[in-house]
Amino acid sequence: MARANLHVGLEIGTSKVAAVIAETRSDGLLRIIGTGEAPSRGVRKGEIVDIGKITLCLTDAVAEAEEKADREITEVVASVTGAHLESLNNRGGIPIPDDRDEIEDEDVHEVEQSALDVSIPAGNVFLHTMVQNFYVDGQEGVSSPLGMIGRKLEAEFHIVHGTKTRIQNSLRCIREASLKVTNVVTSAVASAHAVLDQADRESGVLVIDIGGGTTDYILFRDGSVRQSGVLAVGGDHVTNDISIGLRVPTKWADKLKLEEADVAPGATAARGTVQIEDPTYAGGEIERASLNKVAEARAREIFTLLKRRLQFDRQAQFIGGGIVLTGGTAELKGLAALATDVFGVPARVASPRPLMGPTALFESPRWSTAVGLVLYAQAAQEALEEISVFDRLRSKISRIIPGL
């Protein structure tokens, strides 16, 4: 099988490294053929602090996926996250050259470049330029300007940038493992690919991917990205809060978080206790109310911060699809109810949309970023092929009609 039909997504998360190998079948459908997972070590708040440790983890995860897929991989699409990621919206515009009227692919490329003419901090690089709207001669609502007739092409973009050195650090360990990174995608963009369909994006939706160390968010309106970003707070913070608040070791705090904590509004009044059966821990009983209060305070704060940062109240009416929660921490009991309470719109927990492959993958929000990466890679490749088809077509036509 041609190499281009194999896509590998590699997420180096704060709590786990996840590798997904997928192939595009001859009918164009994506099929996941192997997955691997290893607990992360040396990652904090989404950023790598110990390259040696994490390289071992990712080697394990990749080896497991390779074994299941029975393939050897050399290239991956990697996700990045971290508080250094920033985004902005900008509009670019270019005149169409006088010698033609029809908008070509190179014009679209050029208008994108003109939108990148914004000042970002020195040392930052662009990661994504996602189109929101095209305008041809000032006319709005153009979804694809290719082939249209006009004198002026403008477009609005959502642009994501981040600190170059931090991105390089995230990717260095992949090179250490003798793999090549073909594409870098933010976790938010990847997860959105996994959990949303076109209808969700059109009706407007806010995806909140809460992982171990970060909360990555991305807001769609009218089919395109309007806002995105990272808050360097995640499930680890819930664990840490529980550990400090209830004075239990981290291992127990994590277990309490996963198995017992309930962050739904009202659960803070829960009665009863949780028994800890750990001979090394003398505390014995944990008040449910206290556990829920600690976890809820943190989760509520994350949502409240995002709500403020996004100025969500102004957008709520455009978010017909509501809130979509994903990422490992989305498995926290009561999280959707809490999100609904904070944002005032319906919220649900989402796992990756079903593809062909092991079903366990599509039953857990933990896999969204990694699955999203292969979907992103496939979409990027299709877009590339489309362009080359268009180019081939145009070159054919131009032989017939000189001057085109």
Binding site: R44, K45, V233, D236, H237, N240, I244, G245, T250, V294
Partner: protein
């Protein structure tokens, strides 16, 4: 650019005197209030607030409030800011009640000690919550008092700044320059206290005296919005024919304005004149002419003139300058970390009273802001413990809060 308050606001923007209150907090604050109380026509309601009941009973202030009777047991905070803070926290309700109905609160305190450093930010926060605009008038310790005290003061200053419209800070080192070199200690301290009470009076007069060109609370608010909360103060008063020029020269020469050099930094400057009806337009112009050449290009000047019938032919000039870029930077993250700690102690109910905690002040040193500090790691245990597994990482700062500190602690949620 020069903006003067439009004259049609003349009547509207005069705050009633009663809406203005001065709280003196801790030993230094009590001293300032005592001085104000001893002066004729005290400018506002004076309230003495302290943990130490003996100091309170000795104060001539008409109103007194003892905070933290349980925590401090009627003694001073003993230089422990955590105890000062815990004392204020114990008396939150009383403090809030004291501030209710106050439009402008002038909070006087000396930073670097226990009560002032610990309680002042809490008082300011409560006043702000009660709807008051807070102007803090604080002193910073002498350099010779050591870096610990200095850092404690800087930290308190940063936290105070978040709740205050502005903080007029007076460096004790600079204050002595107000007096001649051969002045006795008593004279020097007296002169320093005099400058502080002048500052308090000037701010109250600005908003409370009938205005010719009003400087309302709204304008004060606008002036300080978005600027560094720290302001610098210059004051001059003179009589006679050349009083405008002389008063301006005095004000500009004030060591607290770094002899006028601070004005050159971009920012905002407030020029306020107080005099009787005899103040002329020409005098205002003289004052402005004197000021303009010293200002940076982008500096915005606000002008106000108040009418004090008791000025007796003298003209007083007040200059407040707030630079846009902070002066000595206090790293916000350090600061936040710190501020949450005593609360944490209180909420988590780790054993003992707050006074048992290691001195909070010490951990400041790790920020590297002051290379000369002798702090070592073992002096910073408490806040680091609160950050748990994030203790070795850069804090996640959002809106001045360190999100690595447990949310329930910052939200003061009580656990059983």
């Amino acid at each position: 650019m020069i903006t003067a308050g439009p004259s049609e606001r003349l009547a509207a923007s005069v705050a009633p005197v009663s809406a203005c209150k001065v709280i003196g907090l801790g030993n230094a604050g009590l001293a300032m209030v005592a001085r104000l109380a001893g002066e004729e026509g005290a400018p506002a309601d004076l309230v003495a607030v302290h943990t130490d009941d003996k100091a309170l009973s000795a104060s001539p202030a008409p109103r007194k409030l003892q905070i933290g009777p349980g925590v401090a047991k009627g003694l001073g905070a003993g230089g422990d800011a955590a105890r000062g803070r815990a004392s204020a926290s114990e008396s939150l309700t009383e403090l809030r009640a004291e501030c209710t109905g106050t439009e402008l609160l002038i909070l006087c305190a000396g930073l670097g000690g226990g009560t002032g450093s610990g309680a002042a930010p809490v008082v300011a926060e409560q006043a702000k919550k009660a709807g008051a605009l807070v102007v803090a008038v604080v002193t910073l310790p002498f350099a010779a008092e050591g870096s610990r005290k200095r850092e404690l003061a800087e930290e308190a200053l940063a936290r105070l700044g978040r709740h205050c419209l502005t903080v007029l800070c007076f460096e004790n080192d600079r204050m002595v320059e107000v007096s001649p070199a051969d002045a006795s200690l008593g004279e020097a301290l007296g002169a320093a206290a005099g400058v502080l009470s002048l500052a308090v009076r000037a701010v109250t007069q600005m908003v409370s005296l009938p205005a010719l060109m009003p400087m309302g609370l709204d304008e004060l608010l606008q002036m300080f919005e978005g600027a560094d909360a720290r302001a610098h103060f210059g004051y001059g008063v003179a009589g006679g024919n050349a009083r405008a020029r002389e008063a301006m020269e005095q004000a500009m020469a004030s060591p607290l304005l770094d002899e006028g050099r601070l004005l050159a930094e971009p920012g905002r400057v407030l020029l306020h004149l107080t005099g009787d009806e005899s103040v002329t337009l020409a005098e205002l112009q003289t004052a402005l002419k004197h000021l303009s050449p010293r200002l940076g290009l982008s500096t915005q000047v606000h002008v106000g003139v108040a009418n004090d019938p008791e000025a007796d032919g003298r003209l007083a000039v007040t200059i407040l300058a707030c630079t846009r870029s902070g002066l000595p930077p206090v790293l916000p993250e350090e600061d936040e970390e710190l501020s949450s700690v005593p609360d944490a102690a209180e909420v988590v109910e780790t054993a003992g009273s707050p006074s048992d905690k290691p001195a909070k002040s010490s951990k400041r040193g790790k920020g590297g802001k002051k290379p000369e500090t002798e702090q070592t790691q073992e002096e910073l245990p408490l806040d680091q413990a609160m950050r748990g597994r994030f203790k070795d990482l850069d804090p996640t700062m959002v809106d001045g809060e360190d999100l690595d500190i447990p949310a329930f602690i910052r939200m003061r949620i009580r656990l059983k």
